[in-house]
Symmetry: D3
Subunit: 156 residues, 6 copies
């Protein structure tokens, strides 16, 4: 059984890795699907975000990384995946995810969202905060998988 | 008795039409007031949004469409309208609408906001999601009044 | 056009009177419908709550008070009323009211809830808090219509 | 792989059956665990709630029903189950479930909560509302699995 | 400068002790005010709750424990305290505390609520959950100050 | 004892002044820390926002204004301040502030956030709404300290 984990992953964080590992206890494969999302004006380019996601998960079996443009439900239809993974850290997260899931289900009736809870120490780690700290030259290496931290250091 | 229904209407959705129809059961006229709102960086131009709102409601009696720039309370004062209509789909919507209503009431003491609940099938239809799906070349015609869907198709 | 305003009214507060007055600007009549609700374990008996609601509104035209047991939608069906009034003071209020409204609409398809915003000074006045203050022998007369305050004083 | 679905099930609703069916797409077995919970003052006795849950799921393979007293985590430890299932209908649900899940994880480190989203038509069906309608002699058979509806009718 | 910390403290938890210690960094004295609150149907008697609060804080300077019946604002007025302390763990907590604070300020204009954030490991420890676990014979000693845990063990 | 009050202050409002005055009852000094925050795309330039904050507080003892770029926790470490002040107007405010505070505490363990409640008449005054009204040529002088209102008038 397979599940897709869509996101901007700007950059891929330790909290997101924690969610992937938890999902792998349940599913045979997890497809990390990096969204192009140019309207969100990401800090890292599409290719960089894909590359960082690959570095983050490369020692885990049964986890693949793809990039996609267009609708998530089209990717799921093509690949025959009906489960979608999201990690939830709090109520505001949840309200947004819940609306998105209802919209997606209205476009793909067998769409099945699965919400997991990250480990306690990853609760406060949103990618937004990691980016804000990084922009202000704060040290974000403690929030990132080691290879992602190295990749970013090498780039700058 | 008249009520004003302000919004960006980018574009005017089936859910918003549903709210107009519900309000017409209570009020003699509904004034759909399309806000210029250039800071929100809308997908459609001001004139296009006015035109689509007109197409959406043109077979309904007692519904007019206007465009406005400036403060909503100034439009209401000029036209002698004190009731303002908003549809509410969930808690996050509500918190924002509630703050806006308090601010407006602080500027126009007789300001009276009326919150209605859309039909169940329109609950998940925010204009934000419709725009996101459209940008990704998804089919949004099922979320829009037929004439609005045609207008958009003709434009592209 | 008529609207029903259901509640426990334990006791009828100034904030609830404010909502009735606002609704009367829109509707020809407002039916205050006091629910029996013995499971909620109210502080005042059903007849007392009806009596206090009558005292609160008796100088307002177009406002009647009834008591009811059973389902609200049955009362509405019998009386041919499809609009239901609720005042909203904040997000938690709203979430509860919204669920109730969806359930009621599933039982009476033409059910139409109207949510109004109380005046700023009534925002913090829930009946729960008024009861808690009263139990602790605090002075609640400033939170109640004068005749309701007198009624309670006379009882104790 | 097994998952436990704890609850008071007072009574077992169509929405809860929908969640069980969704979970069975992912897990080999679902253990519906009816909590004794006398402090919640349930409408139906512990044995009745277990019986109704059994009637609700008896035509589904891979679903068992147990009753339990004491801590959920103790039941999970004994049976070697680490996944726990909950359906989520909105933000208030979520906040409560999230706190419960954090407490349970603090007592059983491998505790893994899985949150699923019920089908749209079951979104508004809380057991609380079903009970309130039933108490007021409203017809709740449309909210319940047919055998549960029959069981309740036979009892009264 | 003095601050009052009101609550039911049923029983006094490690998270509440954490809040007291944080407040003592700012205020010269903290008055823990145990509310009688018989309507909340507490698990422990009023005198037991006062005794446990005393045991919890007895090695901390500048912290006193009192019991009170009646309105909090009356206690504050008598003692000349205008600051009130509350710990906040999440959004639902906050909404309730915020309403309470607005009501109290309407009765005592100089009322000044101060909200502090407990340490991360105390975030999930509500007294409600501690009581639920205790009722089910779960081990709650890790959630309580050692002397409170001993007191409860000795009682049972 | 000192406390820092960080923000964009775009522009400094009467509600923010109210929070500063409340904090001064507790702390010997309040450091208003204007964040550069170019990514937030503020309406007023960094120097203008610092200047307006200075004008707003210049008749209050024990209040200083600084500008800063980079991480708040670095400013706090340098100055030996561990308390951080925030005013809270509602639930959405709170969720955001709470996450920020958890992130900051993860970077500076002695970080201690203090949340105060503005006076009732400042509850609805967010800087966002003030800016929106200003952009639409609405009169915002009633929402601002007199000297800030003059400064803005002089600029335009």
């Amino acid at each position: 059984m397979n599940i897709i984990y869509p996101g901007t992953f700007d950059p891929f964080s330790l909290g997101q890795l924690d969610i992937v590992i938890r999902a792998r206890q349940i599913y045979d494969t997890v497809t990390v699907a990096v969204s192009d999302n140019p309207r969100k004006n990401p800090m890292f380019a599409f290719e960089e975000r894909i590359e960082m996601a690959r570095l983050a998960v490369d020692e885990y079996d049964g986890v693949e990384v793809i990039g996609f443009t267009g609708l998530l439900v089209d990717v799921m239809r093509e690949r025959g995946i009906k489960f979608m993974l999201r990690g939830i850290r709090g109520m505001l997260d949840f309200e947004y995810e819940f609306q998105m899931a209802q919209v997606n289900r209205s476009m793909l009736s067998e769409f099945e969202p699965i919400f997991l809870m990250p480990g306690e120490k990853y609760m406060v780690l949103s990618s937004t905060f990691i980016r804000e700290v990084a922009v202000l030259n704060g040290d974000v290496s403690g929030f990132l998988p080691p290879k992602v931290a190295e990749y970013i250091k090498a780039k700058i």
